[in-house]
């Protein structure tokens, strides 16, 4: 036991260091606060307004400008539905798609990259060749093909977007794996007879988490953007559900007469994308100080 009065010199772990650096980054902190607010608003959306996201307000204009007495803080859309609630429900869908699709891309990319990097040699060569080939494909169009041929199913969107985003993740993880696998602790694991799969999942993947987390925060906005792009074209989320892309697309059609329909969802989308990008940059600087 250490005596009570002894000066304990605590070493700081990589993660503690990173957290300290991240919280010193003003842009990242502001972004986290903003993003947190949006997430909380989205979660509690049904309790924040007297209006439902799919019911018109028959006593007000179709569409109507923002009106505080009736609690239509962002106005109403062409079907008389409250835009504030719809924007927040759009936030739910957009954020959910972003997170779930990123998770899918994470699963595929990390497993693929770690396997290729760890096995090395010819397997690695072939696996990365495949990634190179896939890289040159116009993936956006494949997602559109999927949507056209198999209908606009929300789960299909998750999977399709995730399946598009894993390539860069695989490359990053492979690079990291190659640099880690020569370390002594992997050799030690080998020596005691741990199987390859166990080494990959127990020892390699936890050690490549830093760059993975950074890239993840940068993937989420990309996915949100792609989903909005699809929804904007009318190929994504379907009524009465909504996402920011759908709202922006509807707003763009009526922007001359009722600009609020475009401006509110667009501002929410832009702020979210900004926040994720700043947090991603902040995390990168925090986790990888030699980059600066």
């Amino acid at each position: 036991m250490v005596p009570e009065d002894a000066q304990i010199i605590k070493g700081r772990s990589l993660w503690q260091d990173a957290r300290r650096r991240l919280f010193h980054n003003k842009a990242a902190v502001v972004s986290m606060i903003l993003l947190g607010t949006i997430v909380i608003l989205a979660i509690f959306a049904p309790y924040l307004s007297p209006w439902a996201y799919d019911d018109p307000d028959w006593g007000y204009d179709f569409p109507g400008p923002p009106n505080f007495e009736l609690h239509h803080w962002f106005g109403t859309d062409g079907n008389g539905r409250d835009l504030f609630v719809r924007t927040l429900f759009g936030a739910r869908v957009s954020l959910l798609v972003g997170i779930l699709a990123t998770f899918v891309s994470l699963l595929i990319g990390v497993t693929y990259g770690a396997t290729a990097g760890y096995l090395g040699g010819r397997t690695d060569n072939i696996m990365m060749r495949i990634v190179d080939v896939l890289y040159s494909l116009p993936f956006m169009f494949f997602v559109i093909l999927l949507m056209v041929f198999f209908g606009r199913n929300i789960f299909l969107i998750f999977i399709a977007l995730g399946a598009v985003q894993w390539l860069t993740m695989a490359r990053i993880v492979r690079g990291q794996t190659i640099s880690i696998k020569k370390k002594e602790f992997i050799e030690a694991a080998h020596a005691v007879g741990v199987s390859n799969w166990k080494i990959i999942f127990r020892h390699i993947i936890p050690n490549v988490l830093g760059p993975v987390i950074v890239y993840m925060t940068l993937t989420i906005p990309q996915v949100i953007l792609t989903e909005s792009f699809l929804s904007f074209l009318g190929l994504g989320i379907q009524e009465p559900l909504t996402s920011w892309g759908v709202l922006i697309s509807e707003g763009a059609k009526q922007m001359e007469s009722s600009p609020w329909l475009l401006i509110f969802p667009a501002v929410f989308l832009a702020i979210t994308l900004f926040c994720f990008n700043f947090i991603g940059d902040g995390l990168r600087d925090a986790l990888d100080p030699k980059d600066r």
Binding site: L137, F141, G151, P221, L233, A270
Partner: protein, 307 residues
């Protein structure tokens, strides 16, 4: 150089074949055929129709027929536009899309490289922060938000430019589509240029050039830009893909009669041949341009070929 070229072409062809194959079989698997309708036709007539379009053949035969037709530049008839084959749609739409895309790319390169270089030379100055801040905005605000916003400001409120339409290709109609298409790419090019120029300006050969007593302008233009622009050139491949993807949205927003608009309409109307034809055409375009960019890169940076 020849071996490198052949190797790159060798990997481009299977990629294209892969795309065509996936697209074809996805279309086969998709529910609903072109002749499904409310009113049931007598089975004999339906069989006749299917035979007339070779839809009664085994799938692999249809696949090879499709491949052979594509090689002749024949993507089949549209399910939606009367009297139009997919090839017709592509040939009418492509010149318009090409003009927009080329202008956007050129604009992106010139403005991006210029802004990026100045930002790198005046690192951490107000100008640098301004350029990088603007670039961040250009990246974070998607083109389908930027386009309506610009249309609202310059088209509706200020009435400087037409809100939408093509106007037979008049310059005024092209300004906003080209700018919105180019903005995100300007941002990326500027960031890339800045990063690589900062690195290049600190390298030994630049110090040598300065030590020789060359004036700073020549150092930058003759020596630094040559190396500093390599990442920009390798970004041109992805940039064209981005511009093509972006053009789909931009053409839909500004109602421009390019390929993108036909594509979106086709996708919304489940006009399978149009969607597939355009995807394959775009893929061909992107792969070819990637190939060209890679070859140029290999030519400029001989280290690539050795690997």
């Amino acid at each position: 150089m020849l071996a490198y070229t052949l190797r790159r072409i060798g990997s481009a062809i299977p990629t294209l074949l892969f795309i065509i194959t996936i697209a074809f079989f996805m279309m086969r698997l998709a529910p609903g055929g072109p002749f499904d309708r409310e009113r049931q036709l007598p089975p004999e007539i339906e069989a006749n129709i299917l035979r007339a379009y070779n839809l009664d053949k085994p799938v692999y035969e249809q696949y090879f027929d499709y491949l052979i037709n594509i090689m002749h530049g024949d993507f089949g008839p549209s399910y939606k536009y009367l009297d139009f084959t997919v090839t017709d749609l592509i040939t009418t739409g492509f010149p318009v899309s090409l003009r927009l895309g080329m202008s956007a790319i050129l604009l992106a390169i010139f403005v991006g490289v210029f802004a990026g270089t100045i930002a790198a030379l005046k690192q951490n100055s107000v100008f640098d922060y301004m350029v990088m801040g603007t670039a961040m905005t250009g990246i974070a605000i998607p083109n389908f938000v930027m386009a309506p916003l610009l249309a609202l400001i310059f088209g509706v409120y200020l009435s400087w430019l037409p809100v939408a339409g093509w106007g037979g290709g008049a310059i005024a109609y092209q300004v906003m589509p080209i700018i919105t298409l180019a903005l995100p790419q300007i941002a990326y090019v500027a960031r890339l240029t800045r990063g690589s120029m900062v690195e290049t300006m600190n390298s030994n050969f630049i110090r040598t050039a300065r030590a020789k007593g060359l004036n700073e302008r020549i150092v930058v233009i003759r020596h630094a830009l040559k190396g500093g622009l390599l990442p920009v050139i390798s970004y041109l491949g992805p940039a064209t893909a981005e511009i093509i993807t972006g053009s789909v949205v931009i053409e839909a927003i500004f109602d421009i009669p390019g390929i993108g608009r036909y594509f979106v309409n086709g996708a919304l109307n489940r006009d399978y041949p149009v969607v597939m034809g355009v995807v394959i055409f775009f893929a061909l375009l992107i792969i070819t341009l990637n190939l060209v960019v890679d070859l140029i890169y290999g030519f400029l940076d001989p280290r690539v070929k050795v690997e």
